[in-house]
Symmetry: D2
Subunit: 292 residues, 4 copies
Amino acid sequence: MQAEALKGIIAYPVTPFLPDGSDLDEAAFRAVIAALLASEPAAIAILGSAGESAYLRDEEWQRGVEIGVEAVAGAVPLIVGIGELTTAAAVAKARFAEVAGADMLMVIPVSYWKLTDAEIVEHFAAIASATALPIMVYNNPATSGVDMNPALLVRLVREFATVRLVKESSGDINRMHAIRELSEGTIPFYNGANHLALEALAAGASGWCTAAPNLLGGEPGRLVDLMAAGDLEEARTLFYAMLPLLRFIVQGGLPTTVKAGLRLKGLEAGDPRKPLLPLSGEPLEQLRRLIG
Amino acid sequence: MQAEALKGIIAYPVTPFLPDGSDLDEAAFRAVIAALLASEPAAIAILGSAGESAYLRDEEWQRGVEIGVEAVAGAVPLIVGIGELTTAAAVAKARFAEVAGADMLMVIPVSYWKLTDAEIVEHFAAIASATALPIMVYNNPATSGVDMNPALLVRLVREFATVRLVKESSGDINRMHAIRELSEGTIPFYNGANHLALEALAAGASGWCTAAPNLLGGEPGRLVDLMAAGDLEEARTLFYAMLPLLRFIVQGGLPTTVKAGLRLKGLEAGDPRKPLLPLSGEPLEQLRRLIG
Amino acid sequence: MQAEALKGIIAYPVTPFLPDGSDLDEAAFRAVIAALLASEPAAIAILGSAGESAYLRDEEWQRGVEIGVEAVAGAVPLIVGIGELTTAAAVAKARFAEVAGADMLMVIPVSYWKLTDAEIVEHFAAIASATALPIMVYNNPATSGVDMNPALLVRLVREFATVRLVKESSGDINRMHAIRELSEGTIPFYNGANHLALEALAAGASGWCTAAPNLLGGEPGRLVDLMAAGDLEEARTLFYAMLPLLRFIVQGGLPTTVKAGLRLKGLEAGDPRKPLLPLSGEPLEQLRRLIG
Amino acid sequence: MQAEALKGIIAYPVTPFLPDGSDLDEAAFRAVIAALLASEPAAIAILGSAGESAYLRDEEWQRGVEIGVEAVAGAVPLIVGIGELTTAAAVAKARFAEVAGADMLMVIPVSYWKLTDAEIVEHFAAIASATALPIMVYNNPATSGVDMNPALLVRLVREFATVRLVKESSGDINRMHAIRELSEGTIPFYNGANHLALEALAAGASGWCTAAPNLLGGEPGRLVDLMAAGDLEEARTLFYAMLPLLRFIVQGGLPTTVKAGLRLKGLEAGDPRKPLLPLSGEPLEQLRRLIG
């Protein structure tokens, strides 16, 4: 695929578990993906942060990839998230995803001990040389513990032919400015911070990586379209209308809040995996009001 | 004046000193203001952060107000900055500015010891009851040591009839979101963070408070116009063209960098007051390249 | 064992891998533990942060526990680290450690998505009800992404009979003050921040959890003894003599720096697991000078 | 005086105002100083952070110096605080203090615009060349907005013959480690963070700069003595007994809380200057309980 040509919404399904939490709920996963496809995203990205990939056993992760490939069925590009502590595990998963039929990888390094730039570069080198799939490098320090600054992100794209896109979720709009400036506008960047959706598009983001379509359907996509059309007034109105929900789902943790929201909307996607607990009490009522 | 109707660029002159640093350079101050007026701002705000008001003796400050009133001469509204550690000094300056002919006050509380919300509210109460001038409440924690969160800013506007506008310079776009949400869009807010000019306008800012017109003339105003017209593509191009200079003048301190830039452009506005030192060496060369 | 009676040094071995990185180097692991025992610690804690437990496959982790039990052989209490993203995995490892013969568990919650206090409490509840072993609750936000404040740490000790000790590695001495105050001096706390060793002992820490004995032998223990004896002058001299090395091994990441240091001292413990890279270049020379 | 020989408590009086806030309360100021002298400090430092020097008019400040000289009357060394935004004002005050009979200056640079190292060095150069008094360089970023790192503090002592001591109030114990290491133990440093008093003495501080003797009399001095005698157990007990009050007076702002405490103890020292408000309500009750 032409990774750089991707524009618009990249939608992130949650990963449903069976009621006892013991395994994936395959039927529910297919249903979640089908609902996302109905929102007409530019691509679907499975097993990312919202997809609780960090909490899956290896065999569950693999089964998740297979279901994703079947459920998306070529309707849009399928991106698979790779977030592993060890390089060996990341390489193994990247290879599995390629063989299973993924179209692209979204790779986020994860730390226990802080990584140097050299360590991050070698991590990407190992993955890039193990598969031919295009790679989106994903920065999300709040979840992964690794903060790749714009210079490093640009370096990764320049150094590895298959690393083509950046997803920036630090929530700092200056990072997007820097990526654009350092790459002289040549490297496409996606925004992964829901509460900055409006501003990131103003700043030139190619699109928005988000789990919001699980709850908001095609509205996030409409924001992208309005901004592309220069209808700033209408875009701003739509953004502020969505903002309380966007902020809520991020602050409460995407798996927790999106699964709760799907249940409220009648699509049973189960609970997050422990220690994550299902939303309850006042926050659940708040979400009910936000979803309306 | 109708404070809420103000839109667009509020331009900030630097305050020139004589070569020996002993006093204001009145002629240079008039020249700086005249040059700013030529950039066609919506208003001129003297004796703000860029205007080194914190470094002036009382009599210099008063003379500065008088010169400002004469030099602006009603061409656009004249705003006077009030940033004092004690409430008594702030009240005295507010009264002086009103008598001297200012159209509006921009008030920033300044701390040595951190202020509670109650202390900040009483500070504004004292100023608001001492003059009839409309007030713009100004938040700039990096310089003043006081961080007023959006709830407090909104409270100040609601509580005091003459507090009408907010200037937000924290550099956190979420603050602007919150002001709009908490006030249901009724409180006009201005952006004071140069490097966020594009995004703040996208987020609904009424305008941009900036010293950049000292060096960039009417270009900042053109950004506002392009955004108002929905020409996002052109606005973005203009913003990124200005961004290296905008970032430079903030990071190096506005009095230091803007005075150096004015000298490079042929308008001698002197040096900042000690301990601030004039720009020199490599940073000066960098500025020369940025100004082109 | 009487967990609360524990005082002094809890020593942390690194976990050696074979030269090709594919598996544990069991002989080297035994040698590392034997060397630590020679430094006469109060206890040995295997598979902690320094022990790269986050980077081990399940079967490696289990084998590590078995080797630890054999190698320590009752000479001192054996503590096993449990740091898992899912509660299910933490419970399974806790049970394994108990059956294998561990004397105590050191439990650190690890996050991808931030955990609420309720989620952390349930995580400990599940572990505490799955084993009879005493538990040391371990706070290390920089590595785990979870920051448990003193009130929560004290709550965990009060709420679960087998949670007996706190290890505080945030590096904020105020946390230790708060634990002592909130528990009225009844909850023993250990310091896990090497660069605060002197001050933590002054503040009343029961001891020091550290990988430093791998490189410094009995010197860390001597610091504890000097402070217990009130020989503050000598303790301070010793602390400042060790400080450059203590700071170095933390800043460079304990597995990376301690393994490099062991090699310099002639005990081959291999390299850390990728993406962690072995120390090289100038940092390695710096370590060589520090070890002298 | 032999500045380096100073050891123990440097006590900070508050600066009382008349009931209407219009001017200094000279009699109360003398009473506050007399009470401090009764606590037997090593030195008295007037017009520091606790002394609200930032809120004084110039003539009040000068009168404050004169009263201090008279009231201390050579009983112990008298230190005068200099914290000014402009170098010219700092120099003028330094000269005034010398002529008036001060024994030492405590100099803190204050910022509106951030200062570069070069600007800070020139600021000290101007002051050091304007008076012969020994100088204590004072770092307190939370109040002054200027953060001088240990390397800069050490540089100032090395570069200017009369800059002899460091007062470190950042609250980061690592800064004290670094000062000791960078100066190879040759530069005496004082701790200015009340809540770190125990640990700073452990780390080798020459003493403790504090307003606490206003409320605690000789107890802070006893902590210093116990640590000097190596009675760590008793020192720790005393420190934890004082800690709730120490933390309270810092968190609520020293002028506000110490003045309230003096009133509770029967020494009327008035209220802080607006916008600072007198302590009231629940915080005042809390202080009453802490003072007992």
